[in-house]
Amino acid sequence: MTPAETVHGRFGPYGGRYVPETLIPALEELEKAWAEARVDRGFLDAVVTDLRDFGGRPTPLMLAERLTAKFGGAEVWLKREDLLHTGAHKLNNTVGQVRLALRMGKSRIIAETGAGQHGVATAATCARFGLPCEVFMGAEDVRRQSPNVQRMRLFGATIRAVETGSRTLKDAMNEAIRAWVTHVRDTFYVIGSVAGPHPYPTLVRELQRVIGEEARAQCLQRFDALPDAVVACVGGGSNALGVFTAFLPDTAVRLVAVEAGGEGLATGKHGASLSAGRFGVLHGSASSVLQTDDGQVAEAHSVSAGLDYPGVGPELAYLRDVGRLDVRTATDDEALEAFQECCALEGILPALETSHALARARDVARELGTGKRVLVNLSGRGDKDLGHALAEIARRRPGATT
């Protein structure tokens, strides 16, 4: 439990368990199983070994010398979750949850996915453990992210293209919950971010906090100090909480959460649930939600499928309220520029999601100034984004200034 979790399953007014009654016993079973597993040495050791051998942990901490020089301010350090197996931080979570599913005797895994990274991580993990896996993905995302669909299929997963609503992540999650309601007894639902009903926000945070714990120790070892700021992009919030959690008690460390500014907050086409959302209930928990005045959930917009989500993890909404987060946004244009900059200057192809964090890291580095250090969570690699990002870049070229 972090300091943020004020009451069991609640983070201030956020969190909770807003789901059909059918799922409540399953959530209680999960909560109980996790409470037992998280103090079971054998279980924890198995997860640590998986993350090491299958996942590639620890991931490095790298000084980005040329970005630092370009920004002209604080040193920029990158936590390289892009090197994790399947290409993003998502695997930290899926390994823990699938191990938990095995421990609980579940015979079948389901998951939702947006960009496909969580789906790929879940499918890969299920392949390794021999569990059948079904991934729900918006039909629009199936179209946009075809390499990830191919990877999931090769890993043996069944893809369920979701044709309802905006046919993106939000709808995939609705459909996954419906499937879970229907097969709740034998099925384990692997949620991909710190969202969903309790205990998921806590469970996923606990599985992802390894990022920040490693990074914190690496900082101390490398420069004998904590970073002055930590920057992460926020979709559901799992990579952000993953890296922030270890630094929560270090109040001198600024925690910068960067949301999808899309075409700009003023246009309404964005995914900035912390910046522009209002109190609401989505996918099983109370949080800050993009919605109409009438309480319909809004369609998010972002150039990156992984940030294209109108909700956000409840703990992040709470940390925002209590002033622990510095919440910012980066627009599609800014993310695409940072994407190219990181490629050209550091030889690292970041995910479009991650590029949002890089875009704001520039400002943070300048605000902090030289002699300071900013840690950026490089949450994933951009191989999946190549086609899409290049098309978006080309589309902007006539009027581009960079």
């Binding site: 009654e21 419906r178 996918h283 309480g295």
Partner: protein
């Protein structure tokens, strides 16, 4: 005592079983729903559940999802549904009305304003698909204070102790979900459903309505023997949608369902 509570109080003595029907408010538009509700009552529905459309109806199957989509496209909002309820009451419609929806629109309006307005408009009950027992206290107390019944749901997965707690906390009736799954018609209902309903009735002092998956008069008749009420949703939504602006197919379904339910003891 609101109309809903009165209905079940009355039938408790007689052993008469009630037919609860679900329609999605605003499908195809609110004017149509306003015309439809008195006709449903006339056709034999004892209670009408008015679905409040929501963008992300995660407890619903394709039929009701599509209906909600149509309702949203016609501009239906929670406030507009409440205004329609007021109109219905002003027009003399006296069938017990239960608002059936999801938490977010209620949260957006504010729990207290929602309850106040719903009660003033003339609604009798509220049922929220994603509001389980643990999260229901605030809304339940506000509802109670305004004379609205907050109807809770129990499911086949609900263990005995929890079933009792839900049975105690629910108001109006206990909505027992027949299947593990979302709304939608089912060719067959679980074999152990009568046993489950027996447990539910033993666990609750409130009358028990059984719903999800019921579509034919035969199913309704069989289930009515084991419950206080039977709920039919998707089958009716489908029949009404097939008819377009002509409700006759839907109404004749209601008539045959009512006959089946009311014949049961």
């Amino acid at each position: 005592m609101n109309r809903l509570e009165r209905l079940f109080a009355d039938s408790r003595g007689t052993g008469r079983k009630a037919l609860v029907v679900y329609v999605c408010a605003g499908d195809p538009d609110l004017a149509a729903t306003e015309r439809l509700v008195p006709q449903l009552a006339e056709a034999g529905a004892d209670v009408v559940e008015l679905g409040v459309p929501f963008s992300d109806p995660l407890a619903d199957g394709p039929t009701i999802q599509a209906a909600a989509q149509r309702a949203l496209q016609s501009g239906t909002t929670l406030s507009a549904v409440l205004a329609m309820v007021r109109q219905l009451r002003q027009g003399g419609c006296s069938v017990p009305l239960v608002l059936f929806g999801y938490m977010n629109p209620i949260v957006r309006m504010g729990l207290a304003p929602f309850v106040t307005q719903a009660a003033e408009a003339g609604a009798d009950g509220v049922l929220v698909a994603d509001l389980p027992l643990e999260e229901s206290h605030t809304l339940g107390e506000l509802a109670q204070a305004s004379g609205l019944s907050l109807v809770l749901l129990a499911a086949p997965t609900t263990p005995p102790g929890r079933l009792r707690a839900i049975g105690q906390a629910t108001r109006g009736f206990l909505y027992f979900v027949s299947v593990t799954g979302v709304t939608g018609t089912r060719a067959e209902l679980p074999a152990d459903l009568p046993a489950k309903l027996r447990e539910a009735r033993a666990a609750s002092s409130a009358p028990v309505a059984v719903g999800f998956g019921v579509s034919t008069p035969e199913q309704a008749r069989a289930l009515a023997a084991h419950a206080d009420a039977v709920v039919v949703g998707s089958a009716l939504v489908e029949a009404l949608h097939r008819g377009g602006r002509d409700a006759s197919e839907g109404l004749s379904l209601v008539r045959s369902l009512a006959a089946a339910v009311h014949a049961a003891r």
